[in-house]
Protein backbone atom coordinates (compact mmCIF):
# COMPACT_ATOMS: atom_id res chain seq x y z
CA UNK A 1 0.00 0.00 0.00
CA UNK A 2 1.11 3.53 -0.67
CA UNK A 3 1.30 6.05 2.11
CA UNK A 4 -2.24 7.40 2.38
CA UNK A 5 -1.53 9.99 5.08
CA UNK A 6 -3.84 12.93 5.52
CA UNK A 7 -2.42 15.97 3.75
CA UNK A 8 -2.36 19.43 5.17
CA UNK A 9 -4.42 21.83 3.14
CA UNK A 10 -2.51 24.00 0.77
CA UNK A 11 -5.12 26.60 -0.16
CA UNK A 12 -3.91 29.08 2.44
CA UNK A 13 -0.54 29.30 0.66
CA UNK A 14 -2.14 30.65 -2.49
CA UNK A 15 -4.22 33.84 -2.38
CA UNK A 16 -5.81 34.25 -5.79
CA UNK A 17 -7.71 37.44 -5.02
CA UNK A 18 -4.56 39.28 -3.98
CA UNK A 19 -2.26 37.34 -6.27
CA UNK A 20 0.05 36.39 -3.41
CA UNK A 21 1.96 33.13 -3.05
CA UNK A 22 3.65 31.96 0.14
CA UNK A 23 7.36 31.54 -0.68
CA UNK A 24 7.43 28.42 1.50
CA UNK A 25 6.25 26.38 -1.50
CA UNK A 26 9.61 27.02 -3.17
CA UNK A 27 11.80 26.04 -0.23
CA UNK A 28 10.07 23.58 2.12
CA UNK A 29 11.51 20.03 1.74
CA UNK A 30 8.30 18.46 3.10
CA UNK A 31 6.17 20.29 0.56
CA UNK A 32 8.56 19.03 -2.11
CA UNK A 33 8.09 15.41 -1.00
CA UNK A 34 4.32 15.92 -1.14
CA UNK A 35 4.68 17.33 -4.67
CA UNK A 36 6.44 14.16 -5.80
CA UNK A 37 3.42 12.18 -4.62
CA UNK A 38 0.47 14.52 -5.25
CA UNK A 39 1.65 16.09 -8.50
CA UNK A 40 4.34 14.02 -10.19
CA UNK A 41 2.79 10.62 -9.36
CA UNK A 42 -0.70 11.80 -10.41
CA UNK A 43 -0.40 14.09 -13.43
CA UNK A 44 0.13 13.19 -17.05
CA UNK A 45 3.81 13.97 -17.69
CA UNK A 46 5.47 14.57 -21.06
CA UNK A 47 7.92 11.83 -22.06
CA UNK A 48 8.82 12.63 -25.64
CA UNK A 49 7.55 12.59 -29.21
CA UNK A 50 6.72 9.58 -31.37
CA UNK A 51 9.32 10.76 -33.93
CA UNK A 52 11.97 9.84 -31.33
CA UNK A 53 10.94 6.17 -31.63
CA UNK A 54 10.74 5.66 -35.40
CA UNK A 55 11.62 1.94 -35.43
CA UNK A 56 10.60 -1.23 -33.66
CA UNK A 57 12.63 -1.77 -30.48
CA UNK A 58 13.77 1.86 -30.31
CA UNK A 59 13.87 3.27 -26.80
CA UNK A 60 14.83 6.36 -24.87
CA UNK A 61 15.01 7.01 -21.17
CA UNK A 62 13.15 9.80 -19.39
CA UNK A 63 11.96 10.82 -15.96
CA UNK A 64 8.61 11.14 -14.27
CA UNK A 65 9.37 13.34 -11.29
CA UNK A 66 12.49 11.76 -9.80
CA UNK A 67 11.54 8.30 -11.11
CA UNK A 68 13.56 7.12 -14.12
CA UNK A 69 11.56 5.46 -16.90
CA UNK A 70 12.30 3.67 -20.17
CA UNK A 71 10.04 4.52 -23.10
CA UNK A 72 10.01 1.75 -25.69
CA UNK A 73 8.47 0.84 -29.02
CA UNK A 74 7.79 -2.88 -28.85
CA UNK A 75 8.09 -5.11 -31.93
CA UNK A 76 4.27 -4.98 -32.14
CA UNK A 77 4.61 -1.19 -32.67
CA UNK A 78 3.09 -0.28 -29.30
CA UNK A 79 4.73 2.44 -27.21
CA UNK A 80 5.10 1.66 -23.51
CA UNK A 81 6.80 3.23 -20.51
CA UNK A 82 8.23 1.41 -17.51
CA UNK A 83 10.11 2.26 -14.36
CA UNK A 84 13.81 1.85 -15.13
CA UNK A 85 14.15 -0.30 -12.05
CA UNK A 86 14.89 -3.99 -11.68
CA UNK A 87 12.24 -5.65 -9.52
CA UNK A 88 14.96 -7.46 -7.60
CA UNK A 89 17.26 -4.86 -6.03
CA UNK A 90 16.00 -1.80 -7.86
CA UNK A 91 19.03 -1.13 -10.07
CA UNK A 92 18.58 0.55 -13.42
CA UNK A 93 18.18 -2.05 -16.14
CA UNK A 94 18.99 0.51 -18.84
CA UNK A 95 22.01 2.77 -18.61
CA UNK A 96 21.73 4.31 -22.09
CA UNK A 97 19.87 7.51 -22.93
CA UNK A 98 18.54 6.02 -26.17
CA UNK A 99 19.13 3.14 -28.55
CA UNK A 100 17.54 0.05 -30.07
CA UNK A 101 17.15 -3.10 -27.94
CA UNK A 102 14.66 -5.90 -27.41
CA UNK A 103 15.89 -6.79 -23.93
CA UNK A 104 17.20 -4.98 -20.87
CA UNK A 105 19.49 -6.91 -18.55
CA UNK A 106 20.11 -5.73 -15.02
CA UNK A 107 23.87 -5.33 -14.50
CA UNK A 108 23.60 -6.53 -10.86
CA UNK A 109 22.32 -10.15 -11.01
CA UNK A 110 21.24 -10.47 -14.62
CA UNK A 111 17.45 -10.40 -14.47
CA UNK A 112 16.42 -9.74 -18.05
CA UNK A 113 13.28 -7.90 -19.18
CA UNK A 114 11.71 -7.60 -22.62
CA UNK A 115 10.92 -4.13 -23.96
CA UNK A 116 7.24 -4.69 -23.15
CA UNK A 117 8.24 -5.03 -19.48
CA UNK A 118 7.92 -8.81 -19.16
CA UNK A 119 10.50 -10.55 -16.99
CA UNK A 120 12.04 -13.10 -19.36
CA UNK A 121 14.95 -14.74 -17.57
CA UNK A 122 16.26 -14.93 -14.03
CA UNK A 123 19.70 -16.54 -13.61
CA UNK A 124 19.37 -19.56 -11.26
CA UNK A 125 15.58 -19.65 -11.55
CA UNK A 126 15.70 -23.39 -10.84
CA UNK A 127 18.81 -23.80 -8.67
CA UNK A 128 18.52 -20.64 -6.56
CA UNK A 129 14.80 -19.80 -6.63
CA UNK A 130 13.48 -23.39 -6.76
CA UNK A 131 11.16 -22.16 -9.54
CA UNK A 132 9.13 -20.35 -6.88
CA UNK A 133 9.60 -16.75 -8.08
CA UNK A 134 6.45 -15.46 -9.79
CA UNK A 135 7.90 -14.21 -13.07
CA UNK A 136 4.62 -12.69 -14.20
CA UNK A 137 4.24 -10.24 -11.33
CA UNK A 138 7.91 -9.17 -11.41
CA UNK A 139 8.03 -7.43 -14.77
CA UNK A 140 9.17 -3.82 -15.05
CA UNK A 141 6.57 -1.55 -13.44
CA UNK A 142 4.47 -0.07 -16.25
CA UNK A 143 2.95 3.40 -16.08
CA UNK A 144 -0.76 3.29 -15.21
CA UNK A 145 -1.73 5.06 -18.46
CA UNK A 146 0.14 6.13 -21.58
CA UNK A 147 -1.26 7.99 -24.56
CA UNK A 148 -0.20 10.52 -27.14
CA UNK A 149 -1.79 13.66 -28.49
CA UNK A 150 -0.75 14.15 -32.13
CA UNK A 151 2.62 12.54 -31.42
CA UNK A 152 3.27 14.07 -27.98
CA UNK A 153 3.65 11.11 -25.59
CA UNK A 154 2.37 11.56 -22.05
CA UNK A 155 2.02 9.05 -19.21
CA UNK A 156 0.81 8.92 -15.63
CA UNK A 157 1.45 6.55 -12.73
CA UNK A 158 -2.05 7.17 -11.33
CA UNK A 159 -4.73 4.66 -12.36
CA UNK A 160 -7.38 7.19 -11.24
CA UNK A 161 -6.08 9.97 -13.50
CA UNK A 162 -8.54 11.31 -16.09
CA UNK A 163 -7.89 10.54 -19.77
CA UNK A 164 -5.13 12.52 -21.50
CA UNK A 165 -7.84 14.24 -23.53
CA UNK A 166 -9.62 15.38 -20.36
CA UNK A 167 -6.32 16.33 -18.70
CA UNK A 168 -5.31 18.57 -21.62
CA UNK A 169 -8.86 19.88 -22.09
CA UNK A 170 -8.96 23.03 -24.21
CA UNK A 171 -5.15 23.13 -24.26
CA UNK A 172 -5.17 20.29 -26.82
CA UNK A 173 -7.24 22.45 -29.16
CA UNK A 174 -4.75 25.29 -28.79
CA UNK A 175 -1.78 22.89 -29.10
CA UNK A 176 -2.95 22.20 -32.63
CA UNK A 177 -1.34 25.54 -33.50
CA UNK A 178 1.96 23.70 -32.95
CA UNK A 179 1.10 20.10 -33.75
CA UNK A 180 -1.35 20.38 -36.60
CA UNK A 181 -0.64 23.59 -38.47
CA UNK A 182 0.80 21.62 -41.40
CA UNK A 183 0.10 18.17 -42.74
CA UNK A 184 2.26 15.58 -40.98
CA UNK A 185 2.59 17.65 -37.80
CA UNK A 186 5.99 18.10 -36.23
CA UNK A 187 9.10 16.07 -35.61
CA UNK A 188 11.63 16.44 -32.84
CA UNK A 189 15.28 16.69 -33.90
CA UNK A 190 17.78 14.25 -32.37
CA UNK A 191 19.66 15.69 -29.41
CA UNK A 192 18.49 16.85 -25.97
CA UNK A 193 19.94 19.69 -23.94
CA UNK A 194 20.10 18.47 -20.34
CA UNK A 195 21.31 20.71 -17.57
CA UNK A 196 20.99 21.37 -13.85
CA UNK A 197 19.72 24.62 -12.43
CA UNK A 198 19.75 25.41 -8.72
CA UNK A 199 16.14 26.54 -8.70
CA UNK A 200 12.79 25.20 -7.60
CA UNK A 201 11.05 23.49 -10.55
CA UNK A 202 8.01 25.79 -10.41
CA UNK A 203 9.92 28.97 -11.28
CA UNK A 204 10.64 28.01 -14.90
CA UNK A 205 7.11 26.66 -15.40
CA UNK A 206 5.75 29.95 -14.02
CA UNK A 207 8.09 31.94 -16.26
CA UNK A 208 7.03 30.11 -19.41
CA UNK A 209 3.30 29.97 -18.74
CA UNK A 210 2.68 33.66 -18.41
CA UNK A 211 5.60 35.96 -17.71
CA UNK A 212 5.66 38.15 -20.78
CA UNK A 213 6.55 41.04 -18.45
CA UNK A 214 10.21 40.05 -17.97
CA UNK A 215 11.17 40.13 -21.64
CA UNK A 216 12.32 43.72 -22.18
CA UNK A 217 14.45 43.74 -19.01
CA UNK A 218 15.72 40.15 -18.78
CA UNK A 219 16.27 39.69 -22.50
CA UNK A 220 17.09 43.21 -23.61
CA UNK A 221 20.77 42.33 -24.00
CA UNK A 222 20.04 39.41 -26.33
CA UNK A 223 17.45 41.26 -28.37
CA UNK A 224 19.82 44.19 -28.95
CA UNK A 225 22.81 42.04 -29.88
CA UNK A 226 21.29 40.28 -32.86
CA UNK A 227 19.33 37.53 -31.11
CA UNK A 228 15.85 38.76 -31.88
CA UNK A 229 12.97 36.57 -30.78
CA UNK A 230 9.75 35.91 -32.54
CA UNK A 231 7.08 36.92 -33.09
CA UNK A 232 8.76 40.28 -33.45
CA UNK A 233 7.11 42.92 -31.37
CA UNK A 234 7.10 46.58 -30.61
CA UNK A 235 9.43 47.80 -27.90
CA UNK A 236 7.98 48.28 -24.46
CA UNK A 237 4.98 46.81 -22.73
CA UNK A 238 1.97 47.94 -24.69
CA UNK A 239 1.86 45.48 -27.56
CA UNK A 240 -1.24 43.58 -28.57
CA UNK A 241 -1.88 40.07 -27.43
CA UNK A 242 -3.47 37.89 -24.80
CA UNK A 243 -2.71 35.53 -21.96
CA UNK A 244 -4.99 32.55 -22.42
CA UNK A 245 -5.68 30.10 -19.63
CA UNK A 246 -7.00 26.81 -20.94
CA UNK A 247 -7.87 25.34 -17.53
CA UNK A 248 -6.26 22.55 -15.45
CA UNK A 249 -3.23 24.76 -14.90
CA UNK A 250 -2.33 24.98 -18.61
CA UNK A 251 -1.86 28.28 -20.39
CA UNK A 252 0.03 30.37 -22.92
CA UNK A 253 0.63 33.85 -24.22
CA UNK A 254 0.05 34.89 -27.81
CA UNK A 255 0.39 37.97 -29.93
CA UNK A 256 -2.60 39.03 -31.94
CA UNK A 257 -2.55 39.57 -35.71
CA UNK A 258 -5.53 41.45 -37.09
CA UNK A 259 -4.99 40.10 -40.58
CA UNK A 260 -2.65 38.06 -42.77
CA UNK A 261 -0.37 41.02 -43.37
CA UNK A 262 0.31 41.34 -39.65
CA UNK A 263 1.27 37.66 -39.49
CA UNK A 264 4.14 38.46 -41.86
CA UNK A 265 5.00 41.66 -40.01
CA UNK A 266 5.74 39.57 -36.95
CA UNK A 267 7.97 37.09 -38.76
CA UNK A 268 11.73 37.33 -38.50
CA UNK A 269 13.23 38.26 -41.89
CA UNK A 270 14.91 34.85 -42.29
CA UNK A 271 11.60 33.05 -41.68
CA UNK A 272 9.48 35.29 -43.88
CA UNK A 273 9.50 33.03 -46.96
CA UNK A 274 8.52 30.05 -44.86
CA UNK A 275 5.69 32.00 -43.20
CA UNK A 276 4.31 32.85 -46.65
CA UNK A 277 4.69 29.23 -47.67
CA UNK A 278 2.88 27.71 -44.69
CA UNK A 279 0.23 30.34 -43.90
CA UNK A 280 -2.48 29.29 -46.38
CA UNK A 281 -2.26 25.68 -45.24
CA UNK A 282 -2.37 26.62 -41.54
CA UNK A 283 -5.26 28.99 -42.13
CA UNK A 284 -7.33 26.41 -43.94
CA UNK A 285 -6.57 23.70 -41.35
CA UNK A 286 -7.18 25.77 -38.22
CA UNK A 287 -9.45 28.68 -39.20
CA UNK A 288 -9.23 32.37 -38.37
CA UNK A 289 -8.58 32.35 -34.63
CA UNK A 290 -5.93 29.61 -34.46
CA UNK A 291 -4.71 29.93 -38.03
CA UNK A 292 -4.29 33.69 -38.26
CA UNK A 293 -5.12 35.85 -35.23
CA UNK A 294 -3.12 34.03 -32.56
CA UNK A 295 0.68 33.90 -32.81
CA UNK A 296 1.53 31.90 -29.70
CA UNK A 297 4.84 32.66 -28.02
CA UNK A 298 5.25 30.93 -24.67
CA UNK A 299 3.29 28.43 -22.62
CA UNK A 300 3.27 25.61 -20.10
CA UNK A 301 1.29 22.44 -19.60
CA UNK A 302 0.83 21.57 -15.94
CA UNK A 303 2.91 20.50 -14.16
CA UNK A 304 6.32 20.72 -15.87
CA UNK A 305 6.18 20.99 -19.68
CA UNK A 306 6.92 24.28 -21.43
CA UNK A 307 7.21 25.53 -24.96
CA UNK A 308 8.32 28.38 -27.16
CA UNK A 309 6.06 27.66 -30.07
CA UNK A 310 7.63 29.70 -32.83
CA UNK A 311 11.23 29.19 -31.74
CA UNK A 312 10.73 25.46 -32.27
CA UNK A 313 11.45 24.71 -28.64
CA UNK A 314 9.85 22.37 -26.11
CA UNK A 315 11.15 21.36 -22.73
CA UNK A 316 10.49 19.55 -19.46
CA UNK A 317 11.54 20.68 -15.98
CA UNK A 318 12.44 17.61 -13.95
CA UNK A 319 12.42 18.16 -10.18
CA UNK A 320 15.71 17.27 -8.45
CA UNK A 321 15.05 18.24 -4.86
CA UNK A 322 13.37 21.38 -3.59
CA UNK A 323 16.18 23.65 -4.84
CA UNK A 324 17.30 21.94 -8.03
CA UNK A 325 15.80 21.36 -11.47
CA UNK A 326 17.03 19.47 -14.53
CA UNK A 327 15.99 21.09 -17.79
CA UNK A 328 15.53 18.88 -20.88
CA UNK A 329 15.10 20.92 -24.03
CA UNK A 330 14.40 19.84 -27.61
CA UNK A 331 14.05 21.50 -30.99
CA UNK A 332 11.07 20.66 -33.20
CA UNK A 333 10.24 21.53 -36.80
CA UNK A 334 7.25 21.07 -39.06
CA UNK A 335 7.68 17.68 -40.70
CA UNK A 336 7.00 19.33 -44.04
CA UNK A 337 9.75 21.96 -43.62
CA UNK A 338 12.58 21.88 -46.17
CA UNK A 339 16.19 21.33 -45.01
CA UNK A 340 17.22 25.00 -45.22
CA UNK A 341 14.31 26.04 -43.00
CA UNK A 342 15.11 23.27 -40.51
CA UNK A 343 18.67 24.60 -40.28
CA UNK A 344 17.39 28.11 -39.58
CA UNK A 345 14.96 26.97 -36.89
CA UNK A 346 17.60 24.84 -35.17
CA UNK A 347 20.18 27.61 -35.14
CA UNK A 348 17.61 30.21 -34.08
CA UNK A 349 16.56 27.96 -31.21
CA UNK A 350 19.95 26.92 -29.86
CA UNK A 351 21.44 30.41 -30.02
CA UNK A 352 18.57 31.69 -27.87
CA UNK A 353 17.24 28.79 -25.81
CA UNK A 354 18.67 25.82 -23.97
CA UNK A 355 22.18 25.41 -22.57
CA UNK A 356 24.07 28.17 -24.41
CA UNK A 357 20.97 30.22 -25.19
CA UNK A 358 21.48 33.96 -25.02
CA UNK A 359 17.93 34.27 -23.66
CA UNK A 360 17.99 31.21 -21.46
CA UNK A 361 21.15 32.13 -19.55
CA UNK A 362 19.55 35.21 -18.09
CA UNK A 363 16.30 33.38 -17.32
CA UNK A 364 18.21 30.70 -15.46
CA UNK A 365 19.92 33.29 -13.33
CA UNK A 366 16.54 34.82 -12.41
CA UNK A 367 15.15 31.47 -11.25
CA UNK A 368 18.25 30.77 -9.17
CA UNK A 369 17.91 34.15 -7.45
CA UNK A 370 14.16 33.66 -6.82
CA UNK A 371 14.93 30.29 -5.24
CA UNK A 372 17.64 31.72 -3.01
CA UNK A 373 15.26 34.42 -1.76
CA UNK A 374 12.81 31.74 -0.61
CA UNK A 375 15.28 30.30 1.88
CA UNK A 376 15.59 32.97 4.55
CA UNK A 377 13.03 32.90 7.36
CA UNK A 378 12.29 36.60 7.25
CA UNK A 379 12.15 36.78 3.46
CA UNK A 380 9.60 33.98 3.51
CA UNK A 381 7.27 36.15 5.60
CA UNK A 382 6.71 38.28 2.49
CA UNK A 383 4.63 36.95 -0.37
CA UNK A 384 5.66 36.26 -3.94
CA UNK A 385 3.73 38.88 -5.90
CA UNK A 386 1.56 37.75 -8.81
CA UNK A 387 -1.01 40.50 -8.55
CA UNK A 388 -0.66 41.96 -12.04
CA UNK A 389 -4.08 42.51 -13.57
CA UNK A 390 -5.86 40.56 -10.86
CA UNK A 391 -9.15 42.38 -11.47
CA UNK A 392 -8.63 42.79 -15.20
CA UNK A 393 -9.58 39.52 -16.81
CA UNK A 394 -11.61 39.91 -19.96
CA UNK A 395 -15.16 39.23 -18.83
CA UNK A 396 -16.38 37.53 -21.99
CA UNK A 397 -13.55 36.16 -24.15
CA UNK A 398 -16.10 35.44 -26.92
CA UNK A 399 -16.20 39.18 -27.54
CA UNK A 400 -12.60 38.94 -28.76
CA UNK A 401 -13.48 36.11 -31.08
CA UNK A 402 -16.44 33.70 -30.97
CA UNK A 403 -14.11 30.65 -31.06
CA UNK A 404 -12.04 31.75 -28.09
CA UNK A 405 -11.83 29.16 -25.30
CA UNK A 406 -10.73 29.36 -21.68
CA UNK A 407 -10.11 32.43 -19.53
CA UNK A 408 -8.43 35.38 -21.19
CA UNK A 409 -6.62 38.51 -20.08
CA UNK A 410 -4.44 41.12 -21.72
CA UNK A 411 -0.91 40.17 -22.71
CA UNK A 412 0.53 41.78 -19.60
CA UNK A 413 -1.41 39.96 -16.92
CA UNK A 414 -0.35 37.27 -14.44
CA UNK A 415 -3.54 35.23 -14.85
CA UNK A 416 -1.66 32.18 -16.11
CA UNK A 417 0.72 32.08 -13.16
CA UNK A 418 -2.18 32.49 -10.72
CA UNK A 419 -4.02 29.62 -12.35
CA UNK A 420 -0.85 27.50 -12.32
CA UNK A 421 -0.62 27.82 -8.54
CA UNK A 422 -4.39 27.32 -8.16
CA UNK A 423 -4.00 23.98 -9.95
CA UNK A 424 -0.95 23.23 -7.80
CA UNK A 425 -3.02 23.69 -4.62
CA UNK A 426 -5.86 21.63 -6.05
CA UNK A 427 -3.56 18.70 -6.81
CA UNK A 428 -1.76 19.01 -3.47
CA UNK A 429 -5.07 18.96 -1.58
CA UNK A 430 -6.52 16.18 -3.67
CA UNK A 431 -6.71 12.44 -3.62
CA UNK A 432 -3.53 10.34 -3.30
CA UNK A 433 -2.23 8.48 -6.36
CA UNK A 434 -3.27 4.91 -7.06
CA UNK A 435 -0.14 3.20 -8.40
CA UNK A 436 -1.34 -0.16 -9.74
CA UNK A 437 0.41 -3.19 -8.26
CA UNK A 438 2.32 -1.19 -5.63
CA UNK A 439 3.55 -3.66 -3.00
CA UNK A 440 4.39 -1.51 0.00
Amino acid sequence: MLDKGVHPHFDHLIDLTKGEINRKIFSDPEIYQTELKQIFARCWLFLGHTSQLPNENDFFTAYMGEDPVIVTRHSDGKIGAFLNMCRHRGNRVCRADSGNQRMFTCPFHGWTFANNGNLKTVPGFKQCYHEELDMESHGLVPVAKIDNYKGMIFATFDAKAPSLEDFLGDMAWYLDMMLDRREGGIEVLPGTHKWRIKCNWKFPVDNFIGDSYHGPVSHGSAWESGFEGMPRRKKGYGYEGFQINAGNGHGFGARWAENEEQVYEMALPEFLDYEHDRFPETHSRLGDLRGMHLSPMHGSIFPNFSMLWQSGNIRVWHPRGVSETEGWSWCFVDKKAAPDHRDMVRIHDLQRHGTSGTWEQDDVDNWVQSTKSSKGYVGRQFAQNLSMGVAHEIEDPKTIHPDMRGRVAGFQNEINQRQLYAQWAKMMNGDTPDVPGATV
Binding site: P190, G226, V368
Partner: protein
Protein backbone atom coordinates in the same frame (compact mmCIF):
# COMPACT_ATOMS: atom_id res chain seq x y z
CA UNK B 1 56.79 33.41 -39.28
CA UNK B 2 57.38 31.47 -42.46
CA UNK B 3 54.55 31.47 -44.97
CA UNK B 4 54.93 27.74 -45.56
CA UNK B 5 54.30 25.93 -42.32
CA UNK B 6 55.67 22.71 -43.77
CA UNK B 7 59.06 24.35 -43.53
CA UNK B 8 58.75 24.95 -39.78
CA UNK B 9 60.13 22.30 -37.49
CA UNK B 10 57.51 20.46 -35.42
CA UNK B 11 58.85 21.85 -32.18
CA UNK B 12 58.61 25.44 -33.43
CA UNK B 13 55.13 24.81 -34.75
CA UNK B 14 54.04 23.21 -31.50
CA UNK B 15 55.52 26.14 -29.53
CA UNK B 16 53.73 28.65 -31.73
CA UNK B 17 50.38 26.90 -31.23
CA UNK B 18 50.68 26.45 -27.47
CA UNK B 19 51.61 30.14 -27.16
CA UNK B 20 48.54 30.99 -29.25
CA UNK B 21 46.30 28.89 -27.02
CA UNK B 22 47.72 30.47 -23.87
CA UNK B 23 47.08 33.91 -25.29
CA UNK B 24 43.55 32.93 -26.30
CA UNK B 25 42.87 31.58 -22.79
CA UNK B 26 44.25 34.75 -21.23
CA UNK B 27 41.94 36.94 -23.32
CA UNK B 28 38.94 34.89 -22.17
CA UNK B 29 39.98 34.82 -18.51
CA UNK B 30 40.75 38.56 -18.52
CA UNK B 31 37.36 39.32 -20.15
CA UNK B 32 39.05 40.75 -23.23
CA UNK B 33 36.39 39.33 -25.49
CA UNK B 34 36.91 41.71 -28.40
CA UNK B 35 40.52 40.60 -28.60
CA UNK B 36 39.33 37.00 -28.43
CA UNK B 37 36.94 37.54 -31.36
CA UNK B 38 39.98 38.90 -33.20
CA UNK B 39 41.42 35.40 -33.06
CA UNK B 40 38.42 33.90 -34.88
CA UNK B 41 38.34 33.57 -38.67
CA UNK B 42 35.46 35.25 -40.48
CA UNK B 43 34.45 31.90 -41.98
CA UNK B 44 34.47 30.31 -38.52
CA UNK B 45 32.51 27.15 -37.74
CA UNK B 46 32.09 26.82 -33.98
CA UNK B 47 30.25 23.66 -32.97
CA UNK B 48 29.60 21.81 -29.74
CA UNK B 49 27.58 18.62 -30.32
CA UNK B 50 25.69 16.96 -27.46
CA UNK B 51 27.06 13.79 -25.87
CA UNK B 52 24.75 11.09 -24.54
CA UNK B 53 25.12 7.64 -23.00
CA UNK B 54 24.96 4.68 -25.36
CA UNK B 55 25.48 0.98 -24.86
CA UNK B 56 25.87 -2.11 -27.04
CA UNK B 57 25.43 -1.35 -30.73
CA UNK B 58 24.98 2.31 -29.85
CA UNK B 59 28.59 2.70 -28.73
CA UNK B 60 30.34 5.04 -31.13
CA UNK B 61 27.26 7.19 -31.77
CA UNK B 62 27.35 9.21 -28.54
CA UNK B 63 27.61 12.57 -30.29
CA UNK B 64 24.85 14.38 -32.14
CA UNK B 65 25.61 14.88 -35.84
CA UNK B 66 25.48 17.92 -38.10
CA UNK B 67 21.83 18.80 -38.58
CA UNK B 68 20.93 17.61 -35.08
CA UNK B 69 20.57 19.80 -32.02
CA UNK B 70 23.90 21.01 -30.58
CA UNK B 71 24.98 23.11 -27.59
CA UNK B 72 26.68 25.57 -29.94
CA UNK B 73 26.29 25.88 -33.71
CA UNK B 74 27.69 29.29 -34.38
CA UNK B 75 29.59 31.34 -36.90
CA UNK B 76 31.70 34.48 -36.74
CA UNK B 77 28.66 36.78 -36.69
CA UNK B 78 26.82 34.95 -33.93
CA UNK B 79 29.97 34.62 -31.80
CA UNK B 80 30.59 38.35 -32.24
CA UNK B 81 26.96 38.94 -31.19
CA UNK B 82 27.38 36.75 -28.12
CA UNK B 83 30.35 38.93 -27.18
CA UNK B 84 28.39 42.10 -27.94
CA UNK B 85 25.66 40.90 -25.57
CA UNK B 86 28.16 40.67 -22.71
CA UNK B 87 29.16 44.28 -23.31
CA UNK B 88 25.61 45.63 -22.91
CA UNK B 89 25.90 45.56 -19.12
CA UNK B 90 22.53 43.81 -19.00
CA UNK B 91 23.63 40.24 -19.66
CA UNK B 92 22.51 39.37 -16.15
CA UNK B 93 23.99 35.86 -16.00
CA UNK B 94 27.43 37.47 -16.43
CA UNK B 95 26.75 40.56 -14.31
CA UNK B 96 28.98 40.57 -12.37
CA UNK B 97 31.14 38.45 -14.66
CA UNK B 98 32.27 35.00 -13.61
CA UNK B 99 35.93 34.36 -12.84
CA UNK B 100 37.38 31.68 -15.08
CA UNK B 101 40.63 29.86 -15.64
CA UNK B 102 40.94 28.16 -19.00
CA UNK B 103 43.62 25.45 -18.84
CA UNK B 104 44.58 24.00 -22.22
CA UNK B 105 46.86 20.99 -22.47
CA UNK B 106 47.70 17.81 -24.42
CA UNK B 107 48.19 19.93 -27.52
CA UNK B 108 48.77 17.59 -30.44
CA UNK B 109 49.23 18.53 -34.07
CA UNK B 110 47.38 15.90 -36.04
CA UNK B 111 47.66 17.34 -39.54
CA UNK B 112 49.11 20.18 -41.56
CA UNK B 113 48.46 21.38 -45.02
CA UNK B 114 49.51 24.63 -46.69
CA UNK B 115 48.58 27.34 -44.17
CA UNK B 116 46.34 25.17 -42.01
CA UNK B 117 47.00 22.92 -39.06
CA UNK B 118 44.67 20.49 -37.35
CA UNK B 119 45.15 20.42 -33.61
CA UNK B 120 43.51 18.47 -30.80
CA UNK B 121 43.73 19.63 -27.21
CA UNK B 122 42.14 19.06 -23.83
CA UNK B 123 40.68 21.76 -21.64
CA UNK B 124 39.75 22.15 -18.02
CA UNK B 125 37.91 25.34 -17.16
CA UNK B 126 37.11 26.43 -13.63
CA UNK B 127 34.47 29.09 -13.15
CA UNK B 128 33.52 30.85 -9.94
CA UNK B 129 30.46 33.10 -10.02
CA UNK B 130 28.77 35.41 -7.55
CA UNK B 131 29.30 34.17 -3.99
CA UNK B 132 29.59 30.40 -4.05
CA UNK B 133 28.71 29.10 -7.53
CA UNK B 134 31.44 26.84 -8.83
CA UNK B 135 31.57 25.11 -12.18
CA UNK B 136 34.09 22.85 -13.86
CA UNK B 137 34.03 22.17 -17.59
CA UNK B 138 36.20 19.45 -19.08
CA UNK B 139 36.51 18.26 -22.63
CA UNK B 140 38.29 18.11 -25.94
CA UNK B 141 38.76 20.65 -28.72
CA UNK B 142 39.45 19.77 -32.32
CA UNK B 143 40.62 22.84 -34.17
CA UNK B 144 41.57 23.86 -37.63
CA UNK B 145 43.89 26.86 -37.27
CA UNK B 146 44.82 29.06 -40.19
CA UNK B 147 48.09 30.97 -40.31
CA UNK B 148 47.58 34.72 -39.94
CA UNK B 149 49.99 37.58 -40.41
CA UNK B 150 48.59 39.63 -37.51
CA UNK B 151 47.66 37.10 -34.88
CA UNK B 152 49.93 34.16 -35.92
CA UNK B 153 46.84 31.91 -36.06
CA UNK B 154 43.10 32.21 -36.43
CA UNK B 155 40.55 29.62 -35.41
CA UNK B 156 38.77 28.56 -38.61
CA UNK B 157 36.93 25.53 -37.29
CA UNK B 158 36.44 24.40 -33.70
CA UNK B 159 34.58 21.32 -32.51
CA UNK B 160 34.18 21.16 -28.75
CA UNK B 161 33.15 17.99 -26.98
CA UNK B 162 32.15 18.52 -23.36
CA UNK B 163 32.33 15.39 -21.20
CA UNK B 164 29.02 16.08 -19.46
CA UNK B 165 25.84 14.27 -20.59
CA UNK B 166 23.80 16.28 -18.09
CA UNK B 167 25.51 19.61 -17.64
CA UNK B 168 26.00 20.39 -13.97
CA UNK B 169 26.57 24.02 -14.97
CA UNK B 170 23.61 26.40 -14.94
CA UNK B 171 24.39 27.53 -18.48
CA UNK B 172 27.05 27.66 -21.16
CA UNK B 173 27.63 31.38 -20.90
CA UNK B 174 31.39 31.15 -21.30
CA UNK B 175 33.47 30.46 -24.40
CA UNK B 176 35.63 27.42 -25.09
Amino acid sequence: MSTDIRAISDIDLWFSITQFYSREARYLDDLEFDKWVGLLAEDLRYWMPIVSNRIGRGIGSELTERGHLAHFEDDYVSMSNRVKRLATGRAWAETPPGRTNHMVSNVEIVGKENKMVQVTSKFLIYRSHMETDQEVFSGTRKDVLREDADTTWKVADRTIVLDHAVLMQKSLGIFF
